[in-house]
């Protein structure tokens, strides 16, 4: 049996793709938070990310493939796992021995995936349209205005905030869990779990703060 076809190989693949997405998420947050205190810096960074050939034609496709890979494998594993218990229990007290979040990664993952659909519709599709379909002239000043325009709608801000609650839950289990999957469970695990709790709160709350900040200061 090849590594990727085995149950442990798939654990590795889920963990590594998840960690890759965590790195991207951190980088995304680092750029977005600049929009709170400097429109110019946000524009500069966004322009670089949107026009650098390496980012556009190497990193962006890798990122999209990473997202597709992570959720496709996640759904396939969920189906396989469900089939491993063909007759269900009449009484099953999952809460007695495992946190809700660890038992419902597929739910939090599905919400995040739905959010990504909206997020792509909001930002990625218009960006692709601007650059490659309408081929409009380069404008390094447009990103901040586009951002605050998106957060004018309270409904959109609400959906974003709710989605980030599920992102927080997904990270809460997934981040430290991925280290266990790649075989790292040692004296650093306790510290890693503490860091995971902090990370799973700080990053999603930070994203919600950015959305709320622009929503409330837009008027």
């Amino acid at each position: 049996m090849t590594l990727i076809a085995s149950s442990i190989g798939r654990k590795f693949a889920m963990a590594l793709s998840g960690l890759f997405l965590v790195i991207f998420l951190t980088q995304h947050f680092a750029i977005n938070i600049t929009s709170v205190f400097s429109a110019a810096l946000f524009n500069e960074l966004s322009h670089f990310m949107g026009n650098n050939p390496l980012v556009q034609f190497v990193f962006q496709p890798i990122l999209i493939l990473g997202v597709l890979f992570h959720f496709t494998l996640g759904f396939l594993l969920e189906i396989k796992n469900a089939q491993s218990r063909n007759v269900k229990y009449k009484t099953y007290r999952g809460a007695a021995n495992a946190p809700w979040v660890s038992r419902n990664m597929i739910l939090s993952g599905a919400v995040i995936l739905s959010f990504l659909g909206l997020h792509f519709y909001d930002f990625w599709v218009p960006e692709m349209n601007y650059k490659y379909i309408e081929v409009l002239p380069l404008n390094s000043e447009r990103y901040f205005e586009e951002l605050i325009h998106k957060f004018e709608s309270p409904v959109r801000v609400g959906i974003y905030a709710l989605s980030f609650v599920f992102l927080s839950l997904h990270l809460y289990h997934g981040f430290s869990s991925s280290f266990q999957s790649v075989g790292l469970n040692n004296s650093y695990t306790k510290a890693l779990k503490t860091f995971t709790v902090a990370f799973s709160i700080v990053i999603p709350v930070g994203f919600v703060f950015i959305a709320l900040f622009h929503h409330l200061t837009a008027f």
């Binding site: 491993s84 021995n97 038992r103 790649v182």
Partner: protein, 248 residues
């Protein structure tokens, strides 16, 4: 104590089972759970009803035969005990107790609460052993110095009794805690290192072929394991497997 028992009854592997309800009176809080089941079976025999089939052997918590899923948990609500070591004092007078077999595709029901756990035997046979030269030149194991830390970890892993509570508890019916304990107890010792590569590859391969689910690190297995087998073993098995796969 008066109890209402809701028990899975299934005549054989092919039959369609269902939950049956029985009333039981005069249960002593000092009885073990299996003694309570014995009392129920005596009552059923007197009533001309087929007694409930369930696995049991040593009744001392070391053989791993008893395997009931009680009130939604493997081996019931107590921690670090098997069903035979669970006592009725953990329940209250008037309680309704639900008793089901360990459920997994790889643990098919034989009858009532008895399941076929021979999939564990096949995993063990795939690599859970150390080949020993029996020509008369075998080195005395006690003559091989082993780091105390490793010896303790190996012994902890070796306390796995293979009851299957990890599979029964896991929402994915994953057997990784069991397999990792068996891999770890040898991987940590010099005697086991000779066959380490083949062992982990073969045991994991057999585990996958048996139809167990995939581990998603919920940690439920560790909580419900009557021997307290640690998740560290799964991480160790993952490392061993990656290393063995790359080594070929």
């Amino acid at each position: 104590m008066k109890l209402t028992l809701k028990i899975w009854r299934q005549a054989n592997a092919q039959a369609k089972g269902k939950m049956e309800t029985y009333q039981l009176e005069e249960v002593s809080p000092d009885m073990s759970f299996l003694e309570m089941m014995d009392v129920l079976n005596e009552q059923l025999i007197e009533q001309g009803i087929d007694p409930v089939a369930f696995d049991h052997d040593c009744r001392e918590g070391i053989c791993g035969m008893c395997s009931m899923f009680i009130n939604g948990e493997a081996h019931g609500p107590d921690r670090l005990v098997t069903t035979c070591q669970l006592h009725m004092r953990k329940f209250k007078d008037g309680d309704t107790i639900t008793i089901e077999p360990f459920r997994a595709k790889a643990f098919p029901v034989i009858k009532d609460l008895t399941v076929d756990r021979s999939s564990f035997d096949r995993i063990q046979q795939a690599g859970g052993f150390v080949s020993v030269n029996t020509s008369g030149n075998t080195q005395d194991a006690n003559a091989i110095p082993i780091d105390k830390h490793d010896a303790d970890k190996a012994f902890d892993a070796a306390t796995c009794i293979g009851c299957g509570a990890c599979v029964a508890t896991c929402k994915n019916a994953s057997a990784m805690l069991f397999v990792s304990a068996k891999v770890s107890q040898y991987a940590l010792l010099p005697q086991g290192k000779v066959e380490a590569t083949d062992r982990v590859l073969n045991m994991v391969n057999q585990m996958d072929e048996e139809g167990f689910g995939n581990c998603t690190n919920t940690g439920a297995c560790e909580v419900e394991c009557p021997k307290g087998i640690s998740l560290e073993n799964i991480a160790r098995m993952n490392r061993e497997y990656l290393h063995a796969s790359l080594k070929g």
